[in-house]
Every structure is written in structure tokens, then in C-alpha cells.
């Protein structure tokens, strides 16, 4: 029987909606904040900003390459531009522009990709961004963020604006479980330990943080003490919290709604191998594109649930 943690995990806002709300607040505080969108403002939730600050909203039409370039130009002109679209479009179509006009000259551009992962659901794999974290991390100088809920998204959008340099923020379409209470502090590059544990550490990001907490509750009922860590910053990684988890629990499961070939897991494994090598397992998407279905059906089918995280933890413990 699953023990209870202090987390209720009630469904709250989707992180894309939290992003839209935070953007309006940011726009009120800072007149240098400018937003660009590529005909998806009702879906990315930049429409709220567009309504309140029409003069600071640039509709770029369905032209992501141009949008990213304009964003970089606005940044060079002293603005704090947030360019937004579905993650798969802005990161894939705009990648060359992110590389040459944002990363390479270290421009103060903020990129927010919504509808990431497979939890976009019915729209299917052409719209599913399952490689965005890997692509964003491959850009030198980029900060890469993947907030799990409304409170963390709000805080990290404000932190992005305050940070000088290119930032990629990953947001989701599906409603996300509330994890944090308002007032929780977030620092770019600092992970947060959510559940204390000594047998195994579940390191998760984005939508998988709530699944990891549920998995820890299940494991606790089996007498397994699982630590849960939210790595909301994929780059730069919090090396200390990873090394500590490796040293103190001796087993790590990394959980992400992303291709395992190029996401958080391989990055954490690099830090573990450089610090305190330990047994590791990985929960994520394995070398495939998904399909159309409801988000819940997809998370079940592609093995991104609490039960999959718990199973990976048992496997890790058996190898310890």
C-alpha cells in the first residue's frame, strides 16, 4: 500500500498556461519584455500578453526561422524578447537560427517551446517535441529549463528574464499536478529535493516529477526509501545534488518525457560517471515516435507512469 507524502498532486494549470500568465505579469513589471509568436498565440498562451501589450507583441506568422532571427535582433537592440511556438516547431525549424543568431553571439533571447513531449496527445507525433531538450542543450551557452508545475514555471519565467543570455524553457499542453506552494524559491541551476530517501534517488523533470513522487509513495509502501529530486534546470546541471544522490543512495533513476538518446538521463549519467559512479536506470522514450491518443493513454503506453518509475527503481536496487 502506498504511503502518503506531503504532496496532494492535484491537477493544476498546464505549464503553457502558467507561462502565459507569468508573461503578462512580467510585461507589467518590465517594459523591455517583448513577445513574438508564430500564429499559435492562443495555444502557447502568449495571447494574454498580446491583448494587454499589443505594441510589444510581434505576430510573425507561420515563419519560425524569421521569428527566431527577429527575436535575436530585438535582443541586440536591448529588448528582452520571448519567442514562443510549439516546441517542435521553434526548436526544429528555428534551430539554425538559435545556433547562429542566439547561442554563438550569446544574445539575450528567451525561447519558450510549448506542447512538448508526447502529452500533447491526439495531434500526434509530427507535433510532439521529444528531442527539444537534447537540441537546446547542444547549444553552447544556452540555459535549458523544464518546469514541472505552475509555481515553478512562473518563478523560472521571471528568473529567465533576469538572467542575461539565451534560455530555452520547455512547457507542456496537459494540465500538470501542482507540486510547489506559492513562495517556493527557485534558482536556475539548483535542483530541489522533494522527498527524502536513502535507498534510491528518482531524478525527474517536467511532467515526470509528479510521477516520481507517486512512485516514491508506492516504493515506501514496499519498505524502499526513495529520494525524489526535481531537476527543473537541464543545463547547467546541478552537479552537487546529483553527486550527493549517487553517493548517499547508490542508485539513480532518471525520468523524463523525452527521447532517452539525448535528454536529461544521458546528462545526469555523465555527471554520475565523473563523480560517484552508481547503478542507474532510465525512464523515457526509447528510440521511437509516438502516435495519436489521449495524453493518459500515451503516458501509459510509452511507459512514463509512476508504475514504470517504481519498476525501474526496483530494477536498479536489484543491481545495486
Amino acid at each position: 500500500m502506498a504511503a502518503k507524502t506531503k504532496y496532494e498532486l492535484k491537477l493544476g494549470l498546464a505549464t503553457r498556461e502558467a507561462f502565459g500568465k507569468a508573461l503578462v505579469e512580467l510585461g507589467r513589471q518590465n517594459k523591455d519584455v517583448v513577445v513574438c509568436d508564430a500564429d499559435l498565440s492562443k495555444s502557447t498562451y502568449t495571447a494574454g500578453f498580446a491583448k494587454e501589450f499589443p505594441e510589444r507583441f510581434i505576430e510573425c506568422g507561420i515563419a519560425e526561422m524569421n521569428m527566431v532571427g527577429i527575436g535575436s535582433g530585438l535582443a541586440s537592440g536591448g529588448k528582452i524578447p520571448f519567442v514562443s511556438s510549439f516546441s517542435c516547431f521553434v526548436i526544429n525549424k528555428g534551430f539554425e537560427q538559435l545556433r547562429v543568431t542566439a547561442a554563438f553571439p550569446n544574445v539575450n533571447l528567451k525561447v519558450v517551446g510549448t506542447h512538448s513531449g508526447i502529452s500533447i496527445g491526439e495531434d500526434g507525433p509530427s507535433q510532439m517535441s521529444i528531442e527539444d531538450l537534447g537540441l537546446a542543450c547542444s547549444l553552447p551557452g544556452f540555459t535549458v529549463l523544464c518546469p514541472a508545475d505552475e509555481v515553478s514555471m512562473t518563478a523560472l519565467i521571471h528568473a529567465s528574464a533576469a538572467h542575461f543570455g539565451p534560455v530555452f524553457v520547455r512547457a507542456g499542453r496537459a494540465k500538470a499536478a501542482d507540486i510547489y506552494s506559492p513562495g517556493q524559491e527557485f534558482t536556475i541551476g539548483k535542483g530541489i529535493q522533494l522527498v527524502e530517501g536513502s535507498d534510491v534517488t528518482l531524478i525527474a523533470t517536467g511532467l515526470l516529477v509528479a510521477e516520481a513522487i507517486r512512485a516514491a509513495e508506492t516504493l515506501d509502501g514496499e519498505g524502499i526509501s526513495a529520494r525524489v529530486v526535481d531537476l527543473h534546470t537541464i543545463k547547467p546541471l546541478d552537479r552537487d545534488i546529483i553527486a550527493r544522490a549517487a553517493a548517499e543512495t547508490g542508485a539513480i533513476v532518471v525520468c523524463e518525457e523525452h527521447l532517452l538518446d539525448a535528454g536529461l538521463g544521458v546528462r545526469v549519467a555523465q555527471v554520475v560517471s565523473e563523480t560517484k559512479p552508481c547503478v542507474m536506470e532510465f525512464v523515457g522514450i526509447r528510440n521511437t515516435y509516438a502516435e495519436s491518443a489521449s495524453p493518459d493513454e500515451l503516458l501509459d503506453k510509452y511507459g512514463l507512469r509512476a508504475k514504470d518509475v517504481a519498476e525501474a527503481a526496483r530494477k536498479a536496487l536489484a543491481r545495486k
Binding site: M65, S76, F104
Partner: protein
């Protein structure tokens, strides 16, 4: 060198810039002489006459912005920068060498006075739109100038940008197409013809001016005209000659991306005078 509107003085500067281009590319043993030489009058007229900028204060917020989207022609820009005092003239011949600020393509990490790192074609116009929009939002009189190559307009992103700028009335932006008719693999008309060019830009909503891109008074009056056009951006279709000023390089596709030999350099410098 100081700024001037005097055509003879500008022509003298052009000769100096052509000498610098030939000398630095020869020293580097690689680079792009043809497309650097075709843009000499465009760059000289802008930097030495039209644009408001201050080498003593390169980050002056209200300065005009210049983006060399055809980044491979950077020797023309490096020479102008050096002649203006933005960068050291005695280092021009370190072009493309380890540790040089004169990188193979413009790189703001090495020369902060550059407005953009370019070299991957097709991206400068979007950046220029962003800078021009930022100037408008900032209430700044700053204007933005973007030089494109002719082969470069084959890039799809150029037309995304071309569609957006008139729609958003970005009238503090001037685009100059260095239409020298030659790209790496040969003549543009044989690789992927882009004509009729002015008609394409007009159809996208631009104020288009066709001119001889080596005619300094024509460039001066076109830039003055562009400054008066409101509600839409201006494009100059500058008909130029690849390799202009060196007879054996003119209209010769070979000199798109091949450095002159020492012997060719001597001949070229003699011709330029």
C-alpha cells in the same frame, strides 16, 4: 579616416579598401575576394557618409546598425572598420589566422563593434528587422542597414523576412542586395535564377530602387530616398560586378572563393592604384 560626402574622397577610400581586401586575402591564402570587391562602394557610402555611428563610442544606443548578412564578404567590412578606427589596421593581414580578431566570417565575440555574427546565409534580414523594431520600441532614430548577397536570396528565410517587414511597416530598415550575378558554383542565372528581383521585392510590399551599386552619387541619393519613404522598408537592388576593380577577377566565378597569388596581388594592386 573621417567621414565625408565628397564623392572623390569616397572614391579614394574605396581604392584603399580594395587594396586592403586584396592584401589581406592574399596573406590569408583563402577567402572571398569577388563578393568583397563588389560591395566596396555600398559599404563605403554607408560607413563613411550615410550612417550615423561613432568609432569612439561603438555602443552608442542611437547608432545606425549595419549587418553584413553575406558574411563571407567580411574583408570589405574589416577594412572599413580598420580605416574608421574601430579595429587595428596593422592586424588586417592576420585575417583567418589563429588568435586574429579578423575571423573567417564576422564574429561579435572577437569584434564587439560588429552588430551580428554572420556567415550562415539567409539570417541577416530577420536580425535587421528585430533591431529596427527594437529602435522603434525604444523611440530611437536608429536605422538599420542589411547587405544581402544575390545567391543568398535563394534562402527561404529571406522571403519570410521580406513578407514580414512591409506588413509591420518597418520603414527604418534598408536592405541592399549586392547583385553581382555570381555565386559559388557559377552564374546565379545558371544555378537558380532569382530574376526579376526588384519585382519580387515590390510584390512583397517593399519600396525597391534599382541602381548601379558602384555609382556613389546614385547610392547616396538612393539612401536619401529610403530615409524619406514612410510605412514600408526600402530595398536597393544594387547591380554590381563581382571582383570589381581588378580586371582578371571581374565577372570571374573563380574568384568567388579563391585567394589571389602573390603575383596576382601585385597585378591587382597596380590596377587599383
Amino acid at each position: 579616416m573621417t567621414k565625408t560626402s565628397n564623392v572623390e574622397e569616397l572614391r579614394a577610400i574605396c581604392r584603399q579598401i580594395r587594396r586592403d581586401i586584396i592584401t589581406m586575402i592574399t596573406a590569408a591564402k583563402s577567402g572571398h575576394p569577388g563578393g568583397s570587391l563588389s560591395a566596396v562602394e555600398i559599404v563605403t557610402t554607408l560607413f563613411f557618409d550615410v550612417m550615423k555611428h561613432d568609432p569612439a563610442n561603438p555602443k552608442w544606443v542611437d547608432r545606425d546598425r549595419f549587418i553584413l548578412s553575406k558574411g563571407h564578404a567580411c574583408p570589405v567590412l574589416y577594412s572599413a572598420f580598420a580605416e574608421l578606427g574601430y579595429t587595428p589596421k596593422d592586424q588586417l593581414n592576420t585575417l583567418r589566422k589563429l588568435g586574429s580578431i579578423y575571423q573567417g566570417h564576422p564574429d561579435v565575440r572577437f569584434i564587439p563593434a560588429l552588430e551580428a555574427s554572420t556567415g550562415s546565409l539567409g539570417q541577416g534580414l530577420s536580425l535587421g528587422i528585430g533591431m529596427a523594431l527594437a529602435a522603434k520600441l525604444n523611440g530611437s532614430p536608429s536605422r538599420t542597414f542589411v547587405v544581402l548577397g544575390d545567391g543568398e536570396v535563394q534562402e527561404g528565410q529571406i522571403w519570410e523576412a521580406a513578407m514580414l517587414a512591409p506588413f509591420h511597416k518597418v520603414d527604418n530598415l534598408v536592405c541592399i542586395v549586392d547583385y553581382n550575378k555570381i555565386q559559388l558554383d557559377g552564374f546565379v542565372r545558371d544555378i537558380l535564377d532569382i530574376s526579376p528581383l526588384a519585382e519580387k521585392w515590390r510584390a512583397f510590399g517593399w519600396h525597391a530602387i534599382e541602381l548601379d551599386g558602384h555609382d556613389i552619387p546614385a547610392l547616396q541619393s538612393a539612401f536619401a530616398e529610403a530615409a524619406e519613404v514612410k510605412g514600408k522598408p526600402t530595398v536597393l537592388i544594387a547591380n554590381t560586378i563581382k571582383g570589381k576593380g581588378v580586371s582578371f577577377m571581374e565577372n570571374n566565378p573563380k574568384f568567388h572563393g579563391v585567394a589571389p597569388t602573390e603575383k596576382e596581388m601585385a597585378l591587382a594592386l597596380q590596377e587599383i592604384g
